[in-house]
């Protein structure tokens, strides 16, 4: 049946204007439940002052991103058994590279305004979004399905990116991935935005974004593909001018 583990949750706490510190909460958990469940129980039963963001609890809203034992995770789908052990510690901190509102909640305004700037689409035709298990005789163009984009805008990729740690102007993996999904053919005005020092060229191939993405976006691949698109575009322009 369900096991019981005794763990220590180490949660980063920070009210406005303070330096962050850790509070420890000893609690009983079921290793088959999620890190978010443990955080929620801290708030519900142990410490009502805890602030954290969460909404859907099934990896579609992107609100519950946190660093769990130093790795970016969506806490609603991260099993406790995968990140600690009985009598172990579970460290929970807010995402990096975004200002902290309080405790585990961060302000991702910069991510959203950049996504708006490049016109990232939240819904797109199924022909452009990859479909799992398409039926063999099924022609997606025929059915005209619309899909919610894979990117949850959760910010894990930006938190994990070493370039984003030192550059506040860097557009960041999620934004560049969104630009790639649109493509320079469809949105030629994006060229001036992404072919810049703080656009695709700020990426230094750490591939951490793809490593932490919980939603199959593969931002690293998209950034490299966007570079190809840019180079093709620039070369093309060269010949067009000649």
């Amino acid at each position: 049946m369900s096991q019981k583990w005794n763990i220590t949750l180490k949660v980063s706490r920070q009210k406005a204007g303070e330096t962050p510190h850790f509070d420890e909460y000893k609690m009983e958990v079921d290793p088959d439940e999620y890190v978010l469940d443990a955080v929620e129980r801290v708030w519900a039963f142990m410490d009502r002052s805890l602030c954290y963001r969460h909404a859907c609890h099934h990896s579609t809203c992107g609100a519950c991103g946190m660093r769990v034992n130093d790795v970016e995770k969506l806490t609603c789908i991260t099993f406790i058994r995968d990140v600690t052990h009985n009598a172990g510690t579970l460290k929970v901190e807010p995402l990096r590279n975004f200002p902290v509102i309080s405790d585990l909640a961060v302000d991702m305004g910069s991510l959203y305004s950049r996504l708006e700037e490049i016109g990232a689409r939240s819904v797109l035709p199924a022909t452009e979004a990859e479909i799992e298990n398409p039926p063999s005789k099924w022609d997606p163009a025929d059915q005209q399905y619309i899909r919610l984009a894979d990117c949850l805008e959760c910010g894990l990729c930006i938190s994990a990116c070493p370039s984003a740690a030192t550059s506040s102007d860097y557009l960041g993996p999620a934004v560049l991935a969104g630009a790639q999904a649109n493509g320079l053919k469809r949105n030629p005005e994006l060229l001036e935005i992404v072919d810049t020092e703080d656009g695709v060229w700020r990426c230094h191939s750490a591939f951490e974004c793809t490593a932490v993405c919980p939603s199959f976006v593969d931002p690293a691949r998209r950034i490299m593909n966007l570079r190809s698109q840019i180079i093709k575009e620039r070369f093309g322009n060269l010949f067009r001018k000649a």
Binding site: H57, I101, E116, S122, V123, E132, I146, L148, D150, F216
Partner: protein
């Protein structure tokens, strides 16, 4: 003339939609929530943009509300919706006995349905149970819960509404005449306590409506009724899948990005702030889900969680109507300045807001009609981009 002031407690579907409606009607709106947008029931909604077919037999009031709002939401919030329709499938004789009632019920509620053969159904959705006996195409959809609420919130913000998240209502401010004139709040991010004054306080806390009403010495009979949801990988179907039967447990499977979510169950609780996932309920979802989509039996589970419905209709559990109600506390318990809106379904959020805003305007003697049917909502991202 200064704008009438409204405070909305609760930033879920009802709170954000009401903020949008009141802001358009010229109100100065402040929305407070002890967490962030949709941190309660609304965030964990299944995400089914109901066509109403589920309620067309036993709860036609809800069914009609659903189909009307379904059509409206597709128009005003396309950025948060997958409008790919849905299917009702019958798997056995018992289901087939429901067929006639389903057809006449949908007709009575002007829900367009299209009966297709099992072969046609399998051509559209190869992963459904191949033993299905019949299928109906219906105008269901999938919506992203947080992004739908954010779209309303963004539009409200554009029209001047202020959102104070992580701000908890500690008590209501009563003036000498037993009327509500504001809210004592604490900003949980800064530990700052302060007062918010208003001409009207709207209690949009859904399942928690009773707790807020109690602050004014009022009673709201809301029955918190949670249910389980289980998400599986991968996305087995491209459209919503319903069981053709009397509404029961685990008879809806909804695609959401690269997963499907099976829901739900129904039981009552007293402890609202945390509802643990019950393993027996998860088992039911696995079994019932696998009846609709055999592949679910061996699918990888991606998440499981509980969401607490605010039920207000008479009857118990599934017998409860899924309609909504707006209580003017002046009428129910002689407390002026407070209005509660609860019950309802995610799909009817705009209608709930319209009703609430109508009641509020009538109370304050303001003549302003609802225009939300025709106003396309802003991109949900604007909520974070627009200044506070």
């Amino acid at each position: 003339m200064s704008k009438p002031q409204a405070i909305i407690v609760g930033a879920g579907f009802t709170g954000t939609a009401t903020a949008h409606d009141l802001a358009l009607r010229g109100f100065d709106v402040t929305v407070i929530d002890r967490g962030d947008i949709c941190n309660g029931t609304s965030g964990r909604t299944h995400g089914l943009l109901h066509c109403g077919g589920r309620y067309a037999v036993k709860d036609q009031e809800s069914a009609i509300e659903c189909i009307d709002e379904n059509i409206l939401l597709r128009k005003i919030a396309p950025m948060a919706i997958e409008p790919n329709g849905g299917m009702f499938i019958a798997l056995n004789e018992s289901d087939m006995q429901y067929r006639e009632d389903f057809i006449s019920g949908c007709q009575a509620c002007h829900i367009p349905i299209d009966e297709i053969t099992p072969q046609q159904a399998l051509a559209l959705e190869p992963n459904i149970n191949p033993k299905l006996l019949t299928a109906f195409l219906v105008p269901d959809g999938t919506f992203d819960p947080l992004r739908l609420a954010l779209s309303f919130a963004a539009s409200a913000k554009k029209n001047g509404a202020r959102f104070r998240t992580f701000t908890e209502a500690k008590s209501l401010i009563m003036n000498g005449k037993g009327a509500v004139s504001g809210v004592n709040v604490v900003n949980r991010a800064t530990n700052q306590k302060y007062e918010l004054r208003a001409d009207i306080v709207v209690n949009a806390t859904g399942a928690w409506a009773g707790e807020i009403a109690e602050m004014a010495g009022s009673i709201v009979q809301v029955k918190p009724t949670p249910g389980v949801m289980v998400a599986y990988e991968p996305r087995f179907v491209q459209r919503a899948l319903n069981r053709l039967n009397k509404p029961g447990d685990g008879d809806i499977v909804l695609p959401q990005r690269r997963m499907v979510v099976v829901g739900t169950t129904s039981f009552e609780v007293n402890e609202l702030d945390y509802v643990p996932v019950l393993e027996e309920h998860v088992k039911i979802m696995l079994e019932r889900g696998a009846e609709l989509i055999p592949g679910i039996k061996h699918a990888k589970m991606r998440g499981k969680y509980m969401a607490t419905r605010p039920l207000i209709g008479g009857g118990m559990g599934r017998g409860s109507a899924r309609t909504f109600k707006c209580f003017d506390h002046k009428e129910t318990d002689n407390v002026e300045g407070l209005v509660t809106i609860t019950g309802g379904k995610a799909t009817t959020l705009r209608a709930m807001a319209e009703k609430t805003a109508d009641v509020v305007c009538e109370k304050l003697g303001i003549h302003s009609a609802c225009v939300t049917k025709d106003v396309p909502l802003l991109s949900y991202r604007q909520y974070y981009v627009l200044p506070n």
